[in-house]
């Protein structure tokens, strides 16, 4: 890491024939990321997860496994996985779920769809809401800024996890009565809605701070003196300079949402049967850690590797795009 930490200067000249002056901050950052081996490896790991999640229905067919099929043959009369190591066999490469004999690999692959979907859409929504409110607050200042700031304080003051758990059932029912398809669609919508509701503040604060400093810079002043409208200021002048921070923030908050989805499922605010979720698997496996340790181990490691990869990628992006950030001094 120390290489990349001190990297901001050396890599720049190596970017082809272009001089660093002609590069946007975005391209400069990208060039720096490519130098960071840990971030590159993490990128491939994340890509692999995304690939598996997207193509899960095809992959399970190729591997001849079914995440929903019960397999009585794979469990013994106690309902525990038959055979050693949690029932690992050619038919079930990662073993089977105690009680039902459902394939763990298949369920992990389908669970990845849910985790990444919640993580991706949750991050997207918080980013859109956060960036919008942050820019508005930074540009308008005054009363609007104060209002958004206090709203953020109030939001952060909520014990959000408790609220999410307590409101899960009534709010899901409310969503269903509003026409959101009943069942898991409504439940996922709820989870994403509350993630957005409680997650926008950090992004908004970050963006607001950046906007406050950017709006005083010469190029913005110049654009304004030529009579540029708000739209031009936001999209042509401010946003291109905000991207690095946004990307860093997104890459660091995504793993948090993936883990949070698992946490919520673990706590019972999750999906309905027979859907697969990493959190449900982890919650269930705790009871079997003696009889089938692989059942706890495999989903746990799967989740851990994904979150670790996201974090490494996020660190790499931060080092590259935001060279002045605190991390540099560590």
């Amino acid at each position: 890491m120390s290489d990349s930490a001190n990297a901001p200067e050396p890599p720049v000249p190596s970017v082809g024939a272009l001089s660093s002056e002609g590069l946007s901050p975005f391209r400069m950052g990208l060039a720096r990321v490519k130098q960071n081996r840990a971030a590159k490896a993490a990128f491939w790991v994340v890509s692999f997860y995304v690939f598996v999640a997207v193509f899960a229905p095809v992959l399970v067919r190729i591997l001849n496994i079914d995440p929903y099929a019960l397999d009585r043959e794979a469990i013994n009369d106690f309902g525990l996985p038959a055979g050693q190591l949690g029932g690992i066999s050619w038919d079930h490469p990662f073993g089977v779920e105690p009680g039902t004999g459902r394939d763990i690999l298949g369920r992990l692959m389908y669970g990845a769809r849910i985790s990444l979907l919640v993580g991706a859409i949750g991050t997207l929504l918080t980013t859109v809401v956060g960036v919008t409110l942050g820019i508005v607050a930074g540009l308008r200042r005054g009363f609007v800024d104060a209002l958004i700031g206090r709203l953020g304080d109030v939001t952060l003051a909520f014990p959000s996890l408790l609220l999410i758990i307590a409101l899960a059932n009534p709010m899901t029912q409310r969503l269903e009565s509003w026409g959101v398809p009943a069942g898991n669609t409504a439940r996922i919508t709820y989870i994403m809605a509350v993630l957005t509701l409680f997650g926008w503040v950090y992004m908004a604060r970050l963006v607001r701070g950046q906007v406050l400093s950017l709006r005083e810079r010469e190029f913005v002043e110049a654009a304004r003196s030529f009579g540029a409208g708000t739209g031009h200021l936001v999209f042509k002048q401010l946003l291109p300079n905000l991207w690095p921070q946004i990307i860093v923030f997104v890459s660091l908050s995504l793993p948090g949402y993936v883990a949070l989805e698992a946490t919520l499922s673990f706590l019972g605010v999750g999906l309905l049967a027979p859907a697969a979720s990493w959190g449900i698997m982890l919650g269930d496996s705790v009871r079997y850690y003696r009889a089938a340790p692989t059942y706890l181990f495999i989903p746990g490691v799967t989740l851990m590797v994904l979150v670790l990869a996201f974090n490494l990628l996020g660190d790499g992006l931060r080092d590259a795009f935001d060279p002045r950030s605190d991390r540099q001094q560590l």
């Binding site: 099929a69 019960l70 009369d77 055979g83 009680g99 039902t100 019972g268 003696r290």
Partner: protein, 589 residues
Amino acid sequence: MKVRSKVLAIVALVGLVAGACGGSGDGVQSGEESGGLSATLDGVKDGGTLYVLTSAEGASTLDPQRVYTGAELGAWGSTFARTLTSYKPVAGKDGTSLVADMATDLGTASDDLTTWSFTLRDGITWEDGSEVTCADVAYGVSRTFGSEVTAFDGPQYAVSYLDIPAGDYDTDSAYPGPWLATEEEQALFDEAVSCDGKTITFNLKVPVADFNFTVSLLAFAPVPEAQDTADQYGLKPFSNGPFKVETYEEGKELVLVRNENWNAESDEVRAPKVDKIVWQFGLDETVIDERMLADSGDDKNAIVYGGILPVNLQTVFGDESLKDRRTDGFDGFVTYTMLNIKTVSCLEVRQAIWLALDREALRTAAGGPFTGEFAQSFVAPLLTTDYAPAKLLDGTKGDGTPNTKAAIAKMNEAKEKCPEVYAKATEDGLRFDHPDTDTWKKYMAIWIDTLGAAGIKINDNPIEQSKYYATINGDQGDLMSAGWAADWANASTVLPELFGKGGGFNYHNNEEDPAFAEFQTKAEEAKMETDRAAQAKLWKELNQYVIDQVWSIPGSASKAQNIVGSNVRGAYQWLPFGWYNLGDLGLAG
């Protein structure tokens, strides 16, 4: 350390055997096991401290009028709450027979069975040495009515039987319990329950043939008015039994010590041996099992409240050296799936659901044969007098596996006969209410998969576990999971409660079913029958009748497994309560 490594060796061995059999089982089977040496009194000595290990955070309550959990009824009854009658403290079927406890005999009924009287023995004392009077018994019973002050949680038999007019209080009675009653209201109760010297008389509004069983519930235990602390009484009840409550702290411990003022001569039922019983609350379930297997130090003098974890059954029942310390048997509960007869009014659809259901897969998901046997009756096998395996629906299989073909045929019949219910079951789906637990997530996967094979759609509807019964009390799904155990050894506390008019646990909405009237008539008839053998015959017929109507689908007659420390003696399973006779347990060595 030696014991611990031995345990590990067993685990490894079981694993090997299971591997060698390729998953077809491992020879460890569930059967009746009565505890061997631990159930006898071999080498028992007076004195010592008995420990009760449990993962529960506390007792549900120590208040005799409010306790309703089988094991606790037995535990408090055998230690600090004597009643007019109680069960014979022996193992086996004999344990369900009634004996006189505080009363001199099993009570005297009037010819029309609406008046019952009991006479108290001489010399029964409270823990402060004062005498237990008839007024104390009457006062105790009156506390059942106080739902405004306590909660609506104890058995309500006094409310439904005693001859007190209906009214507007929470219990639907005109009497609000001793704490709120005006003088006129108290007079209503005093008329229904009256004292004449040592004789207490209960006037009932309905004839009850087995009221002497009813009074064995702790709801009919005496409470001295001077000691009553209303809704706080459950923290420190006043004892008239061989033990008294020394300290009780939820989440920590309950200490029962010997009651010096208990008069052994007045008590022909209890035979206490230990000096002290200590309940340790809030322990980790896994840790409890580990400690019991290790069997060292004070854990040799320990029993478990809450049973063995399913994942450890293989270990416990695979080791023959534990034969003298373990029990395996029915716990009195029958689990079943209730159907909402208002929404699933079509018999053919209900039959199809049953035929398509995979009881075997559900039982395996729960932990296999140790969790129970496929129920053939809503009456538990422990109620030996009233139990007879019913003839199940034609086409269902004895091994619990589904008969999807027959289910599809039934659905095709239903398509003709009741197209509306058919459409609901196949297109909209049936809502299945159940407590939200990890195990239930698996049950639902099985329900959805197996019923789906017969074209029946199930919609999962998990409800937070602690609110489950309160929720379905207000809003019933199309299918609902449930379990029930008899309140005393008579099916009168099962079939009318589950299926009858005003039954305390009847969420079937079955009153408009064409078959309901006949059920209700027969149930009334059976309740009034005084000849026990004739009554048992009626219950058996009635059980067959409800099975034929498929108002509910029987799941399993559940079993429980327990393990005790190597010094514990007298640890037989007491049938009425499905647990040990706590007060009579002793220690050897």
